[in-house]
């Protein structure tokens, strides 16, 4: 048995900095052991009561959730969802990029959320809800005669004789959503994808949803139907500060809120989660925001007290305290309340600071001092990237306009000159396009990214391309598309062949992997703007994040950028690019170095175990081999009896000393 200090030195720092921030509650699991119930409990109860009211009377309510930077707003929403998900449908709505697309953005994100599976359930929110509707319990004779779908749609139509927008299409889509083979397709229609005729035919629907009006009305439909099942829909607008700080951002959001109220969209609980500074300053900027009347309640997430801060520490330290012998003399030992007090002006602080301080103090105790922001950035990136890999399974989960915008953001971050989102002016595909000056050739490059499955959309976008090419607006036009091109006979395909089969214009087929890069960067950028991003002890602002991403070189393996020749193909300029696919030894080695860099000093046993857990099908000897190699090359030093590697400790050799020796 070891004392607490030894245990802390041997184990991972219990204050994992990547847990100091939260985001979309569908991407993150909260560990109940770490939740301090007393923090913001009153505020949770207050909102739960509102949700319960809406459950009874279906009258839409709006709550403004204000809190300081890092006061735990996203975490709070996650807790709320966890507590009431069995009684309400939860939608997470992040920042939007274009005010004139906001309803479509909300609808898309709402349907995406409905497709998520709540904790302890085996079906998505959407299916759980549909299955609870009475139209499904119909086992009558008529059903057998007329066919299941007809009865289903008729049942629905008779339950809602008026007030359902495009009722036949909408109910058809709901029906197909319950059929496993059509589920994704039906959801695609609901979230406003431009589907191809053959797909629409499968759903028995005439056309895709396309306008803001369509999106708003489908949302209204969802609200009305969910009222029958006693499930309010909770729309959580979170980390939307980026969009709200833009010209007319907050007025647009409040306008949406007013519309929801005025047009009697029923059964919604709208939660607007905003940084207090954003709210106060934007409302001073637009003093005539009469829409504020439509906010029924303001809930404020106050700073936390020293007692609550101590409890956060205590919960994180608990597992190690349990193992410690002798028992530590306080339940936050070896940390002290004094340390908290020093960083909490007037005895108030925010949860994130408490975790960051805990991390720093434990790091000092390990004798390894501060971790460098650059080093921890890779861990943050990896973690986010893995989350995105697990959640983004199809390129089309993002709209084409989002994809184009994300790509523009990434190019700009990489320092590509004259990046211009929305390039094809006067075209319906303005939002799908961008342009830039190629840093190596100085040529003007135009890009159109269209993943709409609809062949008509494909054709029109091709004719838009033809116009650009004819006018000679750019030196090279690139068409990005992964979706099929349809049969060789159709007009769109022929046009595509004509424009893109030769030089200089060409086609790139993107891989899902590249899209993961774009989405990961987009999310981090968004968090940085909302002040929610945590890297090491820093909360980098967007500009700092851009530097970190650039320096880290994480984009070097992004195939799409290689295709665009923004990033050199492997071996092009003598730079050592990681071989692709990366061989297992390098992977282990990189992993070991990342851990040692971010932890400084670590017990070898813990390090080995986490490496074994990280990779499939590797053996202890593979890990020891890499450890020995790193020691030989003087990247790390091992201390302790070298007869048994597990009794040793590993620490990082600082860069300057490594060079010297």
């Amino acid at each position: 048995m070891a004392d607490i200090i030894t245990l802390l030195k041997q184990n991972y720092n219990p204050f994992d900095l990547t847990t100091a921030r939260s985001g979309n509650f569908w991407l993150e699991q909260q560990s109940p052991n770490l939740t301090v119930e007393s923090i913001h409990q009153e505020q949770i109860n207050e909102i739960v009561r509102v949700i319960e009211e809406v459950q009874l009377n279906h009258i839409t309510r709006t709550i403004l959730l204000k809190g300081d930077l890092a006061s735990g707003k996203s975490y709070f929403l996650g807790r709320l969802k966890k507590q009431v998900n069995q009684n309400a449908l939860f939608a997470y709505i992040g920042s939007w990029s274009d005010n004139s697309y906001i309803w479509r953005h909300i609808l898309r994100q709402t349907v995406d959320s409905l497709m998520q599976t709540p904790e302890n359930e085996s079906q998505s929110q959407f299916l759980l809800w549909l299955n609870s509707l009475s139209a499904f319990q119909d086992k009558s004779l008529t059903k057998r005669i007329l066919g299941e779908k007809t009865v289903f749609v008729q049942n629905f139509k008779s339950s809602y004789p008026t007030g359902i927008y495009q009722s036949k299409n909408f109910f058809s889509a709901l029906y197909h959503a319950t059929q496993t083979e059509d589920y994704l397709l039906a959801c695609d229609w609901l979230r406003g994808e431009d589907l191809d005729t053959s797909d629409l035919k499968k759903l028995g629907i005439r056309k895709s949803l396309s306008s803001e009006e369509d999106a708003k009305n489908i949302l209204m439909n969802l609200g009305r139907v969910s009222a029958k099942a006693q499930y309010p829909i909770v729309l959580c607008f979170d980390q939307v500060d980026q969009a709200c700080l833009k010209e007319n951002g907050l007025p647009t959001l409040l306008g949406v809120n007013t519309t929801i109220h005025n047009e009697r969209l029923k059964n919604f609980v709208v939660i607007l989660s905003l940084i207090q500074d954003t709210w106060e300053n934007q409302t001073t900027k637009y003093p005539c925001l009469a829409d504020q009347d439509r906010i029924d309640r303001t809930v404020k997430l106050d700073k936390i007290t020293l007692d609550q801060a101590e409890e956060i520490w205590q919960k994180r330290l608990y597992p190690l305290h349990q193992q410690a012998n002798p028992k530590p003399d306080s339940n936050i030992s070896p940390l002290t309340r004094e340390e908290l007090k020093k960083r909490a002006p007037g005895g108030r602080t925010v949860p994130r600071t408490v975790i960051q301080l805990g991390h720093k103090l434990i790091q000092e105790l390990k004798g390894t001092g501060h971790i460098k922001t650059d080093d921890s950035f890779l861990l943050v990136w990896d973690k986010e990237f893995k989350k995105i890999q697990a959640k983004v399974e199809r390129i089309r989960q993002q709209s084409s306009s989002e994809l184009a915008q994300y790509l523009a953001d990434v190019l700009e971050m990489l320092g590509v000159p004259n990046v211009n989102y929305k390039y094809m002016e006067g075209s319906k595909y303005l939002n799908y396009s961008l342009s830039f000056i190629h840093p190596k050739t100085s040529k003007e490059i135009g890009i159109l990214w269209n993943e709409d499955p609809n062949m008509r959309s494909f054709y029109y976008s091709m004719s838009a391309c033809e116009k650009v090419v004819k006018a000679g607006d750019c030196d090279r036009l690139i068409f990005i598309r992964h979706e099929p091109f349809g049969s060789k006979k159709n007009k769109g395909y022929k046009l595509f062949q004509k424009i893109f089969s030769g030089n200089p214009h060409h086609h790139i087929c993107p891989h899902l992997d590249s899209v993961h890069y774009l989405v990961t960067y987009h999310r981090l950028l968004n968090e940085a703007t909302s002040g929610e991003l945590v890297v090491g002890y820093d909360s980098p602002k967007p500009n700092h994040l851009k530097e970190l991403v650039k320096q880290s070189g994480v984009f070097e393996n992004c195939q799409l950028l290689k295709n665009l020749e923004i990033i050199d193909k492997p071996g092009n300029n003598g730079k050592i690019d990681p071989p692709h696919p990366v061989d297992p030894d390098t992977k282990i080695r990189d992993f070991l170095m990342k851990q040692v860099k971010s932890q400084g000093l670590l017990g070898a046993e813990v390090l080995i175990n986490s490496t074994l857990a990280e990779f499939d099908a590797i053996a202890l000897k593979d890990v020891t081999k890499q450890l020995k190699a790193l020691e030989r090359e003087n990247y790390i030093q091992m201390i302790g009896n070298d007869k048994n590697i597990k009794d040793q400790s590993v620490f990082r050799v600082p860069e300057d000393q490594r060079q010297a020796s």
Partner: protein, 285 residues
């Protein structure tokens, strides 16, 4: 003045009461303690700092020996002092050898040295404080003739110096009346005499007034308040008062998310946080 000496002084300005431990006032993170001590001694020779030393090893002086041989009852020595001398008489000793309570030892030893009964064999500087002369030097005299020299100061050191100068401006009425009018328009006429320092509850009233005058919707940037109460309060005094008000749940401070709408000077009025953006707005509860 050598760069390292200057940096050491600036480090000292960041310490409470301008007094710091040797380990805390290293001019650069790479400076060894022994070098810091050498620098401190040089500065002490010029009376810019006062050294607070501990005696690590000592022996009895001839004077002390004589003292012991003298008639004990008439000596102005306490029992403890006597004990120390007796221990020292046996040969070079350490503070531990005296078996006195740890808190008392150094005072006694230093006193005995000062009085010449003991000789210190080894002294160690524990803390250093800025002397009155040092303060005057930094305020009135410091001047770097070599204007082309590249001084690399980190923001903390610069802040220390600026804070220090502000303290002077805040607490001492100007020696010579300045004929130029106050450039910052202030609602009250600037009083000719130092104002009385406002109490905590008066501060709340002032915040309320500023808020309704501007108006700032009970979300008042802190620089408005500083402009009004510094002086008579120093920056630190105002911060401490605000912290007391937070503790009593009278006010809250909210941090700045996006600094775009403020200039650098206004931003500098915020209260920096180790892990987060500065506290910048005042909310009265």
């Amino acid at each position: 003045m050598e760069t390292k000496e200057l940096k050491l002084l600036l480090q000292l300005l960041g310490c409470p009461d301008y007094r710091g431990k040797v380990g805390e006032i290293k001019p650069t993170s790479g400076t060894k303690v022994s070098e810091t001590q050498r620098l401190c001694r040089k500065l002490a020779d010029r009376e810019l700092v006062i050294l607070h030393e501990e005696i690590k090893k000592f022996k009895i002086s001839p004077a002390g020996k004589t003292l012991l041989k003298a008639d004990v009852e008439n000596l102005p020595l306490s029992e403890a002092e006597l004990k120390v001398l007796q221990v020292a008489a046996k040969g070079p000793s350490t503070p531990g050898d005296t078996q006195l309570p740890a808190a008392k030892r150094q005072l006694l030893l230093l006193d005995l040295c000062d009085r010449g009964f003991l000789n210190a064999i080894e002294r160690k500087i524990v803390e250093v404080s800025l002397s009155v002369r040092g303060k005057e030097f930094l305020r009135d005299d410091y001047f770097d003739a070599n204007a082309r020299r590249n001084l690399q100061l980190n923001a903390q050191l610069l802040t220390n110096y600026i804070q220090f100068m502000r303290t002077w401006i805040g607490s001492v009425p100007p020696v010579t009346p300045t004929p130029t009018p106050d450039p910052t328009p202030s609602p009250a006429t600037p009083p000719p005499f130092p104002q009385a320092k406002p109490s905590d509850s008066e501060l709340i009233e002032m915040i309320r007034k500023i808020d309704s005058r501007l108006p700032t919707n009970n979300y008042t940037p802190i620089y408005h308040l500083r402009a009004e109460v510094q002086p008579p309060l120093t920056r630190d005094e105002l911060d401490q008062a605000l912290f007391r008000l937070i503790e009593g749940d009278k006010i809250q401070l909210s941090s700045l998310q996006d600094g775009m709408s403020y200039n650098d000077e206004q931003l500098a009025a915020g209260i920096p946080q180790e892990f987060s953006s500065p506290l910048f707005f005042i909310i009265v509860n």
